[in-house]
């Protein structure tokens, strides 16, 4: 009985490893057709679901230029009508392509990758200072009577499902932002700000926890030397809990990066490189949420490719935060 349980517990623990490997392999296998087709060029290609004549695409993708792939790909054609028309206009200049042109659909990940990074950056720029303010307020300024209930409220807010932030953002926040800053209601800016608001309670709560690890004796001895509260925060608390605070910020960044629902309503979901901060665009999670339903073939595979990129990215960021900043006590 005891031996069996011990084995069982080992097995359950190993399940974590197995699932992670499973996620990686499954994503990789599903993304394989797109990886084979587009290679690493996928990351820098801004076209999504765009039909291009074969020879034009070949200029970009010389190494994947084989007949076999041509025959498998030229049947896929589910792109928008206007995009198709545009392409045909372009092709009109070449005399030998007027009918039955061999085309293929190109998928590139640049737009969602850029959209993910930019919306995350906006969210962090907005959230980090405010979260620091809240954390300092809770850990050092507020009397217990206020800091305890407010702290609990912050933690409860961190538990609110992200789709609710998205809906609120769409109906109440976006109109105000577009009136103030111009541009569309759905844009990089509104998406980033709502994302920032969404990660705010989480970031504030874990940052406060890091600050609270500073031993009271350290703070008291600084006050005993005549330091002001700000000096104690700057010279004692920050240096002491710096590592934990940075770790908390990176952890929140990881959350923002992979967030779907708070952004899905607000970013616009168009494959369009933003020129201004008020332009609509798309992020990786949103591309997956919006397009998975109707995607098939290479399009679906390209979405898996995006998912793989997101997975690897967030895996990298989180492990970085863990190994450099959040070494937890070994108990």
């Amino acid at each position: 009985m005891e031996k069996i349980f011990q084995k069982l517990s080992l097995l359950s623990a190993s399940l974590v490893f197995i699932i992670l490997i499973g996620i990686f392999t499954t994503l990789f296998i599903s993304a394989k057709p797109a990886i084979d087709e587009f290679g690493f060029g996928f990351i820098t290609d801004a076209r999504w679901n765009t039909e291009v004549p074969l020879n034009q695409s070949n200029e970009k993708e010389k190494q994947t230029d084989t007949l076999k792939e041509d025959t498998t790909q030229n049947s896929v054609s589910d792109s928008d009508d206007d995009l198709l028309a545009e392409d045909e206009d372009l092709m009109g200049d070449d005399e030998d392509l007027d009918d039955e042109v061999a085309t293929k659909t190109v998928y590139g990940g640049l737009v969602p990758i850029v959209g993910t990074i930019l919306s995350t950056v906006i969210a962090m720029v907005f959230a980090v200072p405010i979260a620091m303010g809240i954390a300092i307020f809770l850990a050092e300024m507020a009397p217990k009577k206020i800091s305890i209930p407010v702290g609990i409220a912050i933690e409860l807010l961190a538990a609110i499902p992200s789709i609710i932030f998205g809906m609120w953002g769409l109906f109440y926040f976006a109109p105000i932002i577009s009136e103030t800053f111009g541009g569309y209601q759905v844009s990089l800016l509104t998406a980033g700000l709502v994302l920032g608001i969404m990660i705010l309670p989480f970031m504030a709560a874990i940052t406060r926890d890091s600050m609270k690890t500073t031993p009271d004796i350290l703070k008291e001895s600084a006050y005993a030397l005549g330091a002001t509260k700000f000096e104690v925060i700057k010279d004692v608390i920050f240096p002491y809990s710096k590592v934990g605070i940075i770790g908390s910020i990176i952890l929140s960044l990881g959350r923002a990066l992979g967030e779907t629902m708070a952004v899905a309503f607000l970013i616009g979901a168009v494959y369009n490189l933003p020129e201004k901060i008020t332009d609509p665009t798309i992020s990786i999670p949103v591309a997956m949420a919006v397009n998975f339903g109707e995607a098939a073939g290479l399009g679906e595979s390209a979405l898996f490719y995006l998912g793989l990129i997101l997975f690897v990215l967030s895996f990298g960021i989180i492990s970085f935060a863990k190994f450099y900043f959040l070494k937890r006590n070994k108990g």
């Binding site: 623990a13 399940l15 974590v16 538990a159 499902p161 002001t228």
Partner: protein, 268 residues
């Protein structure tokens, strides 16, 4: 000068705290007003086809409940391995780190994984696939809380058990788990609250359904997924329904959270 700087900085952090809290308050107030105004008993009696939410509430709870049914025992047992049997070993440390990383994995990616694993090969969305995706999200959360709650049990308590002649297995079950019980229960409630509000992993695994069903082999009603599609619809009535659903969902999540906090508070 020093004192002025001190005042300025403290005022700034107070202001930013107020800004942050104002936003969060704004969201809650909106939710309460929009949600409560459309609240009626018929929401809980009728299904989505008849503009009610009954099937969605039941469906979401079934999905999360099923996920817990798998995720909680696996997570606890794995947590026991990490903190008790594997204690200090390289492998246990490795699994703990992986689990922490997995806890932060983008939920949409987990949805995509389950889509490739259980939806495509079986020809369509299913309640099973949705619950499976939620279970994957839940396991690392439960591992994490189990592990940290067990770590709070003083090692002398384990040594005292062993010194009495108890086997490791008995020490774990009669002493350590008992000592950590309340904490683990709170952790479980919090992790349930966390997955019950998830949307992204369900989008293309369970999808959602307008009808009441208990059939886990086809698309299954999900409150969160329906909120997403209702909010995207142009009619005012659909949006109102989305707000009501959001309100109910939030109340549910907050209640579970508060219950969790309450039991720890009381045990201390």
């Amino acid at each position: 000068m020093r004192l002025l700087l001190n005042k300025i900085i403290l005022a700034l952090s107070l202001v930013s705290a107020l800004i942050g809290l104002a936003f969060l308050g704004w969201i809650l107030v909106t939710l309460a007003i929009k949600g409560a105004s459309a609240m009626s008993a018929s929401l809980f009696i009728k299904d989505l086809v008849d503009n009610g939410l009954r099937n969605l509430i039941v469906g979401q709870l079934i999905l999360a409940g099923l996920a817990s049914f798998v995720g909680i025992p696996l997570g606890i047992v794995a947590g026991i391995y990490i903190r008790e049997y594997g204690q200090g070993s390289k492998y246990a440390e490795f699994i703990r780190d992986l689990s922490d990383i997995m806890m932060s994995a983008p939920s949409i990616v987990i949805g995509a994984f389950v889509f490739a694993l259980l939806v495509k090969p079986f020809g369509g969305p299913s309640g099973f696939a949705g619950a499976f995706a939620l279970a994957i999200m839940m396991i690392p959360i439960v591992i994490n809380t189990t592990d940290s709650m067990l770590s709070l049990v003083p090692k002398e308590l384990r040594e005292a058990g062993i010194a009495l002649g108890a086997s490791k297995y008995k020490v774990i079950f009669n002493i350590v788990i008992r000592a950590a019980k309340v904490g683990i229960m709170t952790g479980i409630l919090l992790s349930f609250a966390r997955i019950v509000g998830e949307t992204a992993p369900l989008l293309f695994t369970s999808e959602t359904s307008n009808y009441f069903t208990l059939d886990l082999t086809s698309s299954f009603p999900s409150m969160t997924v329906s909120i997403y599609s209702l909010a995207n619809e142009p009619e005012e009535s659909a949006r109102d329904l989305a707000w009501s659903a959001s309100f109910i969902l939030t109340i549910m999540v907050l209640l579970i959270n508060l219950t969790g906090r309450y039991i720890t508070r009381n045990k201390k």
